[in-house]
Amino acid sequence: MEIIMSVLAGILFTAGVYMILQKQILKIIIGTALLSHGAHLFIITMGKLNRGKPPILSEGVTNYADPLPQALILTSIVISFGVTSFLLVLAYRTYQTNGTDNMEKLRGNDNE
């Protein structure tokens, strides 16, 4: 299972990187979102998958899933959410101010 998940994380990274290399801001933000999904999947895969019950203590259970990666991912999800929403509003404002969402056109004059 872990190998399949690694491959899936790889595919998410591929798609994310491809989108980041595009020109339009919205595509780039989609790329970052894909990347963060990939990273989260990566973290949970690095713990052990499907070993024991959810990490909520209850009588008679001795085998739980690793709680630490879950805590890390939870933090990471919230942070990437904050960043993504900031990026989205930034994209909106960029388009409003500059009239373009094309990064190539936003790079300024070559002859500066």
């Binding site: 190998i3 994380a9 990274f13 591929t14 979102a33 690095m46 499907n50 709680p67």
Partner: protein, 780 residues
Amino acid sequence: MLHAAVLLPFLAAFFIPLLYRGVKQVHLGWFVLLVPILLFGYFLTFIQGVMQGVHTLKTFEWIPSLGVNITFYIDGLGLFFALLITGIGSLVVLYSIYYLSKAEKLGHFYVYLLLFMGAMLGVVLSDNLFVLYTFWELTSISSFLLIGYWYQREKSTSGALKSMMITVFGGLAMLGGFILMADITGTSSIRGIIENGEMIVNSALFPFILILVLLGAFTKSAQFPFHTWLPDAMEAPTPVSAFLHSATMVKAGIYLVARLSLIFAGTDLFFLIVSGFGLLTLCWGSYMAVTQTDLKAILAYSTISQLGMIMAMLGFGTELAILAAVFHILNHATFKGSLFMVAGIIDHETGTRDIRKLGGLFTFMPITATLAFFGTFSMAGFPLPFLNGFLSKEMFFDSSLHFENASTIVEAVSPFFPYFAVGGSIFTFVYSIMLFFRTFTGKQRETLPKQPHEAPIGMLISPIVLVLLVIIIAFIPDAFGHALLSPMVDAINGSVGETHIKFWHGFGPALYMSLAVLILGTALYLTREKWQHVYKALPGKLSAAKAYDGLINGLINGSRKLTNIYMTGSLRHYMIYIFVFFIALVGITMSVSGGFQINFDDLAPIAVPEVMIAIVMAGAAVATIFMKNRIAAILVLGIVGYGLSLLFVFFRAPDLALTQLIVETVTVALFLLCFYHLPNFDKKKESKGTNAINWVISISVGVLVTMVGIASHSTKLFEPISDYFLKNSYKLGGGDNVVNVILVDFRGLDTMLEILVLGLAALGIYTMIKLRPGKKEGND
């Protein structure tokens, strides 16, 4: 006391601006004049001791943990230079009082000058390599300030910059050499290093050390090909040129070579480099001087060639040569200082320094002309018994003929030296004579900016003193020889040999060489019109100034081009650099270290629903790439997010699944909100090449991530620490939900900062939407 002496100029430099503001009636120079005179008197008291071989050593702890202490050391060499600096310094300050009017920014001038004087004293008296380097760079900086004194003129600033660049380049190279020397011998004291000189000469790094240290000495002392800054430094006020660029700073390199010659002398490399470049500088400098038309430019190239001559003699390394070298340092300081002052007087009283406009000044300025006569003829080495230049020139010729303990290389090279010596001296003769006769004899031109007249007496005092010294030294060379030069030879060479300077050498090869110089030089001068085209043709494109300009421009243009190549301003390019480096570094590391392992033990069983979700997610992720429509792309992205939350469910992470679900929903909503304001996707297809590069990079990243994931899963090095959390969650945290206990209890700091991140993001979004500088301007 010694430390106070070196500190005095700095202290004075601190108080001078206050005096300048307070006292307006008296020329500021009079106060400054006290400093070098006091110091000169103080250093005179050491002569008695140094003659008897008593050396003074004073230490002040600066950085004892690094062995760097401010140690001042007075022996023959240091004392001679200290006297030179303070003596000429006094005369130059006196001269500058009459040269600079009160309308100039005198406060600046004297502060820089005092800084320079203190720094120079520090250079020649320091016993510690790194203290010496500190003062060395301080002379570079104060010289930079002095050259750029008239900072409104473009030539001054460019000349100052050039001298700074070249001398600091050399200074840094020298620092490298110093560090190597200190590292090899384990001490940074110059005396200590000289004692352990064998270790340096025998080390494998010796050629590097020698070249690095000599780079410092050669750039400072304007040796070929670094001489190019000196003619440009002539934009400084003339007192500065007289002080820094003839008598003191340019001799710092000479001092360094002399100081360290106890270590290096005797090695073939030292001999070849120092005497070779010295002779080359002598010939090139004197040749270039003949082609100049500006008085100060002639004197600048003349200084270069004389420095080359001194350097060459230090390179010869025989006792006679070193005596001749130190004697010539003294002589050069006297006649060159006076000549610069004369040039300044001419400039001051006629308004021009162009030799083509001058002529027939003898009738107007008889005293100046007489002074110039002694200076120029002494510089030429004219065989007259009352000129000290003649004596040292004789000794130079003599020393170029005799080499002791000759190795094969020395024997192979040394027969050519006398020819170079004579060749350089012929041109020296020509420009010296030209300098005198073209300025003071012949017809007077009509076009002078000012009506020429004799200079005020105050301006003449300093050159008169120097010229008197020229004559006195010529008549009683032995007095100076015993008092100053013998201890100096001792310090350079380690032994005192025959230091009797002969008043008259008798008929020998040296005299014939002098006569040859006299005859050929006169002939060249008389027929100079015929050679004009040769003089114009030869430097041509070969001048060091052009090489320097080319180098600097090449550097600027080259780096601009290089920067323009990679700093494109395109986000995509920068991301490509980052990803390519990521791929290259991780890929190479993994393949080199054999990091990729695959291990099928201890894998979770493959469950069908999870695989199905994985396939859907992979499909959705790839589909986002191909979506032509932005809303479709956003929704497909949503599928990836919800798929991930389903996976979290399967992987026994309820809190994660919950959070992911909510966050995904809000994010998709945000995307939808935003896309409403953004234009639709660009339908234009990328070019095939660009697209292929994107694919290659992204697939490589994906493959690498997969490989890292598999490899790290296959190499578990130690057990996770999660058992601790599971065991103690209830006991210590009082909660059943271990993930939540970790978040708020065990690792609560993470959570606090994550809240801060969210808060900042919210605040940022709010300000981005609310704060509109453009609008505000409109309201105002």
